[in-house]
């Protein structure tokens, strides 16, 4: 059968599509197999080096004299993996015992070279230099604090915080307000590791300049590392006319009994989440007399407010299961009676929500 002209063009197109795609597919397969083999070889090499250096570090920590050579190209990645992992598992004084080893193997030079490498190498090298606590590298690490990548910048903050805590915190804390991409859990960990009080001092300074949205973030961090100091700030915030979201956060952090009256003032708030957090807070810091203030919330139109109020009532000093049952008898509202049933049954079973 004869093929028409347009059919012939089509056939040519199909022919070249077939040839090109098959060629590309086979080339890609070759690349994949090559990448896989190379990555396996590297993994094996790094694993061997890591095991060797972990062994060496164990001997050093045990106080033994160990002969070591300067880091070769094949050793660096494995050494740094082992170095970072070991430091993370050690207390501060034990960690300090490894520092001479880092200097003897030439970690500063090797890590400096890695700082110019790919992303992975850079992050690992920054962490390694931080663990080395060498003041000579502080200025080299500072630019990484502004790196666009949240991981690299947080690694730099972590490392700088180890080398020179006051100076590092003075740079790091003001940036918390601007860097939305920094995971709060990681920021909190870096602040929590600060032991010389500079983090609290800087947070305090930052709070003075913070706006309503950033103040909430900073108060949370403050409450984590210095609850006593945070209590004063929270008190001030509750007394000022900040937004409902900030009030809710402050109510979640309140832990001082002297704030009872202040907290009770929010039980009648128009926003349900403020009422809910106020009820929970009163459950933590309240006294037996606060039962009268919480009881009306058992008939609140929002389930969560009723639930937290019932839990708070049960948590008040002197208010046990029997007293709550008595209160249940007094409730004219069916929802109030139901929520007490639920909370009491959870309490009996030890369920904590």
């Amino acid at each position: 059968m004869e093929i028409p002209a347009s059919g012939a063009t089509l056939l040519t197109v199909a022919y070249w599509v077939a040839v090109l795609t098959l060629l590309l597919a086979f080339s890609l397969l070759t690349v994949i197999v090559f990448l896989r083999a190379r990555s396996q070889r590297r993994e094996l090499r790094d694993k061997r080096a890591q095991q060797h250096w972990l062994q060496v570090m164990r001997h050093v920590l045990a106080g033994e004299e160990v002969q070591v050579r300067a880091l070769g190209n094949d050793d660096v990645a494995g050494f740094i993996e082992a170095w970072n992992a070991t430091h993370e598992s050690l207390s501060e004084p034990d960690s300090a015992r490894l520092l001479p080893l880092g200097h003897r193997v030439g970690l500063v030079g090797a890590a400096r070279r890695m700082l110019k490498g790919n992303y992975h190498d850079r992050a690992m090298a920054i962490m390694a230099l931080g663990h080395l606590r060498d003041h000579g590298v502080f200025d080299e690490l500072v630019p990484f604090l502004n790196d666009r990548s949240p991981i690299v910048s947080l690694c730099a903050a972590h490392a700088l915080g180890k080398v020179d805590p006051p100076q590092a915190m003075a740079m790091f804390v003001p940036m918390i307000m601007q860097r939305e991409d920094w995971m709060p859990g990681n920021v909190a960990r870096i602040l929590a590791r600060n032991e010389d009080g500079s983090a609290v001092r800087e947070l305090d300074n930052a709070l003075l300049r913070a706006n309503t949205s950033t103040v909430v973030k900073l108060v949370r961090f403050m409450a984590d590392i210095d609850p006593g100091h945070a209590a004063g700030v929270i008190r001030q915030l509750l007394d000022s006319s900040i937004d409902d979201h900030a009030i809710s956060v402050c109510l979640q952090l309140v832990s001082d009994k002297q704030d009872r009256e202040r907290v009770a003032g929010f039980l009648g708030a128009s926003r349900w989440h403020v009422r809910m957090h106020a009820a929970s807070a009163l459950g933590r810091i309240g006294e037996a007399a606060d039962a009268q203030r919480l009881e009306p919330l058992l008939a609140d139109q929002v389930w969560w407010v009723r639930y937290r109020a019932a839990q708070a009532l049960l948590a008040l000093p002197g208010m046990g299961t029997a007293a709550l049952r008595q209160m249940q008898q007094r409730q004219s509202d069916a929802y109030g009676r139901d929520i007490i049933d639920q909370v009491l049954s959870e309490h009996d079973m030890g369920v904590v929500v």
Binding site: A14, T21, I32, G185, D338, D341
Partner: protein
């Protein structure tokens, strides 16, 4: 019969078919190039995204952050006649290393001993929970809690289907984020952390999903993934390649454009209030997972909200795929109907003024290539066969077209393998890569065509309105991945019941 056929062939040969044939071939060719080009573009977007993602998250550069900063998550586990697997699934979920979570199992009117098995295994007792029916569901018969396992609760309800079960679970959960997990899925300890991370990094995120991988051929010990492997049988092996394609570029490619139209029903995390605001899961569709995401887009765009629906390339969930043709066929027909229902009932999103990339790119793409694709493919196959039998297509042309189709198919599959290599490299041995490549070649000879036929049938069923009201899919599974004698008692080899709609 022979006389009839000869007459048809004669009429084909004596008609002026040359031009018609050429036009048809051009239509199929243009469609073929367009669909593959579109997939290739998605592929390269995904590759860029995955490389960026892996660069940031490949290693644990930082010491783990303070865990209290991770928001609590409620896990909803809908179950219907899952007596053989539900207890093991809950035990597996309890092993997640997420700091704060609760598990709400919803027993959707099981006719087997699912409810009793849960009560016995976890010491559940009926509690007077003040259940709030914010989403309408079938009657809830009771809520159960446990003193021994305070994280576990069970909602016992009248049968209403998977969507209804999830809605009941949402009514019962306590935390602002909830995660739906199929009762037959295996998670990894860090699965929840990985999928919740986008919510921590970006306040606009309302839903997040991750990659679902094929469990067949892997080893599971004590409810957790122990060793990744490839299946020994052809059918699940084809699905490994299919899942790689579907997730690594089918989903990942849409995420940066905020145009992702589906998060697998097998594993996804959502903002509860946002889902309640759109009325929860629709009960009259078999594609409830896709429908939910499309409605989220529609609703949030109508409200002019700045939002994100995201996808992470982490393999967070492992699911056992069908190993027999009948189950696979049922599954694919069901998926196609789900796709059709979701697209049709949300057609208003397409080319909507505020539709964004979801309405202007992803929706038309799904409609043209995913919904209409099987029809065009099947018509193409049938016409090619008929014309070849009639002697109207020379063997040379037939073979060239076949080679082009196989080449494109292989290229897409190998691209997906490349993405897997760039990301997690879970199939570690070069021999496994070669085996995957062989599978990628062989799937073009029968498997893809069979799939197109099932999807075509699914589209037909939907078009003809022949909806079966089975609300829970049933799939035979072989369970050969389990390697724990203790668990084999509770998870024998004949598991079934699958509710998730898409891979």
């Amino acid at each position: 019969m022979n006389t009839h056929w000869n007459a048809v062939v004669a009429s084909l040969q004596h008609g002026s078919w040359d031009h018609t044939l050429a036009s048809m071939q051009w239509i199929f060719m243009i469609y073929f190039v367009a669909i593959n080009l579109a997939y290739l573009i998605l592929n390269y977007i995904s590759a860029y995204q995955i490389v960026r993602y892996m660069r940031e998250y490949r290693a644990n550069y930082l010491p783990p952050g303070l865990r209290e900063y991770q928001p609590p998550v409620s896990i909803v586990l809908p179950a219907h006649n899952e007596v053989k697997s539900v207890v093991a699934s809950v035990h597996s979920l309890l092993k997640t290393n997420y700091p704060e979570f609760e598990i709400v199992v919803v027993n959707d009117g099981s006719s087997d001993r699912t409810r009793e098995a849960l009560i016995e295994a976890f010491g559940l007792v009926k509690v007077p929970e003040a259940y709030r029916a914010r989403l309408q569901t079938e009657e809830v018969k009771g809520v159960y809690a446990s003193a021994r396992y305070p994280r576990v609760r069970m909602v016992d309800k009248v049968k209403g289907g998977k969507s209804d079960a999830i809605n009941a679970g949402i009514n019962c959960v306590r935390y602002p984020l909830y995660c739906v997990v199929d009762a037959d899925c295996i998670l990894q300890p860090e699965s929840l952390s990985r999928v919740v991370r986008p919510f921590l990094e970006d306040g606009r995120v309302v839903a997040s999903g991750g990659v679902v991988r094929v469990l067949n051929g892997c080893s599971v010990v004590n409810g957790m993934m122990a060793k990744v492997g490839l299946p020994n049988h052809w059918l699940p092996s084809f699905q490994v390649i299919e899942y790689l394609r579907a997730f690594l570029f089918g989903r990942m490619g849409w995420s940066p454009m905020n145009a992702l139209l589906i998060i697998s029903g097998a594993f996804g995390v959502f903002y509860k209030e946002r889902v309640i605001a759109i009325g929860g899961y629709r009960r009259d569709t078999v594609g409830e997972d896709m429908d939910l995401i499309v409605r989220l887009h529609r609703n949030l765009r109508e409200e002019k909200r700045d939002y994100r629906i995201v996808f992470v390339p982490d393999p967070v969930c492992w699911t056992e795929v069908p190993t027999d043709v009948a189950s696979l066929g049922h599954q694919r027909v069901r998926w196609q109907r789900g796709l059709a229902e979701s697209l049709w009932s949300n057609i208003g999103l397409m080319f909507n003024r505020r539709g964004g990339a979801a309405g202007w790119v992803a929706f038309p793409f799904m409609l043209v290539f995913e919904f209409l694709g099987p029809i065009i493919e099947v018509v193409g196959y049938v016409s090619m066969i008929v014309l070849a039998l009639a002697g109207l297509v020379p063997l040379k042309i037939f073979l060239v077209f076949l080679a082009a189709a196989i080449g494109m198919g292989m290229l897409l599959s190998v691209n997906a393998m490349m993405l897997e290599e760039l990301s997690f490299g879970l199939y570690a041995r070069p021999s496994q890569q070669l085996r995957l490549f062989v599978v990628a070649v062989l799937e073009n000879f029968g498997y893809r065509q069979m799939n197109s036929c099932w999807r075509f049938y699914g589209t037909l069923l939907w078009l003809l309105g022949l909806r079966k009201h089975h609300r829970w899919g049933h799939i035979n599974r072989d369970g050969s991945w389990q390697h724990n004698p203790a668990e084999n008692e509770t998870m024998p080899t004949d598991q079934h019941a699958d509710g998730s709609s898409h891979p």
